[in-house]
């Protein structure tokens, strides 16, 4: 403690960082399809179980994600599933494991003292129910944890609750996302950091062109901690075999995911699909690459 006080005494400048929500990695889009569409995921049956009863098929995806290679550079291994159960129910599942790059441990005097590789994991389960031909609801619960040092681990439980309205090719959704328990840091008096809870609305549109299709989606989040975020993306599919995707994400200063542009592509044959996405136009998370393999049945 004495050392820190002494050091502070000779600082020329000291400024406070902005508040930041706990476990923001919960908002990372791990599905290469929606990731390529600016992360507009609220109408995705893999994220919103309320969509599943309206969907025509179930879907399972395994993906690898090299996240923000120019900065944190972590490797994400993800498993997502959306299973349609009859005409009224749908179930989603999510598993993710993130391996961070080793960082150098440095003490308060600036002396290095070894390295440590942080890691994060997340597991989620969701259920969707269709009330009527056009109205349904989906609820998801996720458990997230992170191990930052040999002695410091943190966790939280958060959930989404989204209503779904569907008519013709239009899907509308709205509700609350990432509502969960707080995380305490090590500062005496315990700062309680909440997950990035937001009020979310979203819309999706499917347009059939004969040999091709177009899917478009849009999300808007109002974060309870302050700030807005939005995602917009579209997909063109040719003969249900080849897909190209593009999108953009807009994040205000307080939003957990910043602004970027995304691109992606995919192929599908006999229900098996391979997809890839690439994030750009962001100095932090730019060059993030996500690749996945899925089976739609």
């Amino acid at each position: 403690m004495k050392k820190i006080i002494t050091l502070a005494a000779f600082l020329l400048t000291g400024l406070a960082a902005l508040a930041q929500p706990a476990m923001p990695f919960m908002r990372i889009d791990r599905n290469p399809v929606t990731a390529a569409m600016g992360g507009a995921e609220s109408v995705s049956p893999l994220y919103n179980p309320g969509i599943l009863p309206f969907a025509s098929s179930s879907n399972v995806v395994a993906s690898y994600q090299l996240w923000a290679p120019r900065t944190v550079g972590s490797n994400h291994f993800n498993l997502l599933a959306g299973i349609k159960v009859g005409e009224k129910l749908g179930i989603t599942a999510l598993g993710a494991y993130q391996m961070g790059k080793p960082y150098t441990i440095v003490d308060a005097s600036g002396a290095p003292g070894g390295t440590f590789s942080p890691n994060e994991m997340m597991a989620g389960l969701g259920i969707g129910f269709r009330f009527t031909e056009s109205l349904g609801i989906g609820a998801t619960v996720r458990f997230a944890s992170e191990k930052l040092t040999a002695k410091n681990s943190y966790s939280t439980i958060a959930g989404d609750l989204l209503l779904v309205y569907r008519t013709n090719g239009l899907t509308l959704t709205g509700g609350i996302a990432s509502l969960g328990t707080g995380v305490a840091d090590e500062i005496a008096g315990s700062n309680n950091h909440l997950p990035p809870t937001s009020v979310r609305i979203g819309a999706g549109y499917h347009y059939d062109l004969g040999e091709g299709i177009i899917n478009a989606a849009v999300d808007a989040d109002y974060y309870l901690a302050g700030g807005l975020g939005g995602a917009l993306g579209a997909e063109y599919g040719y003969k249900e075999m080849v897909f190209v995707r593009a999108g953009a994400h807009v994040g205000g200063q307080a939003a957990p995911i910043p602004t970027y542009v995304s691109l992606g592509a995919g192929v599908k044959f006999s229900g098996v699909h391979l997809d890839v996405s690439f994030l750009t136009f962001n100095e932090i998370i730019g060059n993030t690459l996500t690749a996945g393999i899925g089976y739609e049945f």
């Binding site: 050392k3 820190i4 002494t6 050091l7 502070a8 000779f10 600082l11 020329l12 400048t13 000291g14 400024l15 406070a16 960082a17 902005l18 508040a19 930041q20 929500p21 706990a22 476990m23 923001p24 990695f25 908002r27 990372i28 996240w67 923000a68 120019r70 900065t71 944190v72 972590s74 961070g100 790059k101 960082y103 150098t104 440095v106 003490d107 308060a108 005097s109 600036g110 002396a111 290095p112 440590f116 942080p118 992170e146 930052l148 040092t149 410091n152 943190y154 995380v183 840091d185 090590e186 500062i187 700062n191 950091h193 200063q253 307080a254 939003a255 957990p256 995911i257 910043p258 932090i284």
Partner: protein, 888 residues
Amino acid sequence: MKKTLLLLTAGLLSVYSCIQVNDTEMQTEEVPSVLEKETFSPYVEGVAHVYFSEEATAELERELASGTTVPTRSSDLSDGLREIGVRSMERLFPDAGRFEARTRAEGLHRWYKVEYDPSIPATRASEVISGLRGVEIWEPVAKVRSHAELPFNDPYLKDQWHYYNDGSRSGWKPGADINVFPVWQNYTKGSSDVIVAIVDGGVDYNHEDLAGQVITNASYNFAKGNSKINPNSHGTHVGGTIAAINNNGIGVSGIAGGDAAAGIKGTRLISCQVFDTSTDGGSVSGGFENAIKWAADHGALIANNSWGYDFTDDKGNFNLEDAIKTQELFDHPNEGSYANSLKSAIDYFNKYAGMDEKGNQTGPMAGGLVLFSAGNDNRIYGAPANYAGVLAVGAIGPVGGRAYYSTHGDWVDIAAPGGDSNYAMILSTTPGNKYESMQGTSMACPHLSGVAALVIAACGGPGFTRDMLVERLLGGVNKEINLRNQQIGNLVDALGAITYGTDEMPAPVTDLRGESASNNITYSWSVTGSENNIPAHGYFLLWGTDRSAVEKATPKEPGAGVTSLNVVSGSVPIGGTLQASLSKLAFETVYYAKVTGYDYNLHYAEPSAIVSVKTGANQVPVISAESGAGPFTLKPFETLNLTFDISDPDGHTVKTGYESGSAAEEWSKIPNGKYGLRIVAANADPGTYSGRITATDEFGGTSSMTIQYTVLENQPPVKSADLENLLLQRVGEETQINMSGYFSDPDGEKLTYEIQNEDPKVAHLVAEGETIYITPLKYGLTTVTVRALDARRSSAEGSFKILVRDPSIEIQVYPNPVVSDLYIATGETPQETEIIITSATGQKVFEETLSASAFSPAMVDMSACSPGQYAAIVRFGGKEYRQTVIKK
């Protein structure tokens, strides 16, 4: 009767048969020691006179009265005394009975004679003792050697105390020697006409200090029956004492060894070897009787026999019966039933040595002298030395009494130095050009042979007989060395023997003069001689304040009011100047004096004319300050060393004292005989002080000197510049900083430095003088506080930082993980640095451009951030650095 005679004869034969093999021994208590040259000191080793304070004297008297010889209670004093190995202390002026009161009144009871370890140099002892509380004067005892200029240049002559014992060593008796120096100086140094037979082991005639002294073609090996002389330590040692060549610049001196530098050849030797070594390494001996007769027939006038019978068997048992029988045999004349071959040989030598076959005297003496050593058994049996036809020689040591080993009895005729291993032994030649010390009556006997050779050389000639020689040797003995009741006779005296029965009355002194200085008078006069040009042995100076009393005074009866002072001429030749000093006389008083010379046999000359000298007034001591007497001004840290020379123009003893003005002053006697005043300003508060030196002579004359000095106010050190931070990049590589650039003292004082190191694991710091040495130990940062101190511990402080960093690291983001404050340190100099902190998902939580450096890092407060991974993007100097930061 016949039976008795036969038994006695058988007994003697038994003894004699043994004599030839085992039972005859060379009478040496042999404790050989190769001579080591010693550093000459003008002072008597191990002795000093010390003058104590009244308090210390009272304390000493109480302790010594309790029976101890060295004080132990006074820790200060006893520690110092122990350091120099003090062995005994006694009053220099003993209790004077009815005169004790005035002895004390004069302070003489405070003088002590201190005997200490003689291996401690006098200068060292002086340093130790002079500084002790209670010691006022330390006075080394000068060697009394002025009358004994060494007459020869033989380097080891100074160690041959047996020729001239000046009493310069602890316990030694001055005059316990053979008094040969005056003989060498005034009579003879030996003559080649005198031949001495060494009936002993073989003499090394090739020895550098005996070359040419041995008549080889007259020498013979009787032990082996051939003419080959085999050098033997004992025989060579004996021969060297008699005839080692004098004044040749080599080795030792011999008593009758001539004077090589003057071309005077000394006594010659015949080696009659009766002891030798057999081919199997054992001893072989024999031919004793034949050897003595041979010597007589080959020109020897003196037969030196340093051997005798041994009555101790192989187990060390003394055979008393044989000893008594043999003693009795030699007690009787050589006739009838007591007739004996050895006695016959001795008689033959006494009668025919120095004579030709027709009975005519051929040498300087008619007849010969046989000398035997008495023996080393410390008993009363010494045959054959007890035979009346020989002179039996006992031994003394340098302390003057009978040596502890010397055989003794009424039959011992005369004593000579034989050495004593407890003090000093006899130094002489040994084979192989060596010089060694030995002790025993074997060593005493050749002293008498040498003296006898000198007497023959000085007094011999036609008509001079053996009996005349014996009369001189026994009549001229030294009776000053009291050997009464010690049964070894009196001590041989070379000068006494030569001057025995002579009258060498010197001429009167005609040039007596006196000079006064204060209450001291020095008289001087020229040495006068006899008609034979023999210098006066000494003079009596008769003095007093009553002229008529001095006129009437004689050496034998000085009379009332006249004091007699004996001054020995020593080596001062005729015409040389003698001096006698009188001190502590009455001031401004006329004194009258005259001198009367005398020869060695106390024939007094006519007195000189009376001279009168008036003493002067007392002059007070003089105190002179070699560095000035001040007043002095001292800065608060300075030390001033002053030296004072305190002397008395009259040569009187001076006592000094010092009254301190402050605790800063230290007064002491310093080794060169001067006095030192050390003023350490740091020991006194600022102000002006005065100390006072006093010097008082023994007659109350006093002088003083005041030393005034001012100690200035102290000004604390100041920091003249900020200490600069230090970036070090090599662990283990020492760096140094000179603090004189950062701190100074307005007083000009040299500062000392103390260091407080916040993290000693990062760097090790040592202050030496004005330099701080820094050794980086590991990467990290530490803050060092330096305190500059002056002598009074007033101080100034400054701090600096030491950053030890890997040279490959251009920025540091720490601590990592961070809880609240995150530091971004860049290069050594501050520069604009763009800092961006983002969450792992890319949310910017901080973005600013700040000034940062290694020692003034920018700080980002991350306390509001949630636990998790963050990215730090740092841009400066055209470069960008990205690091993962963990917030916990």
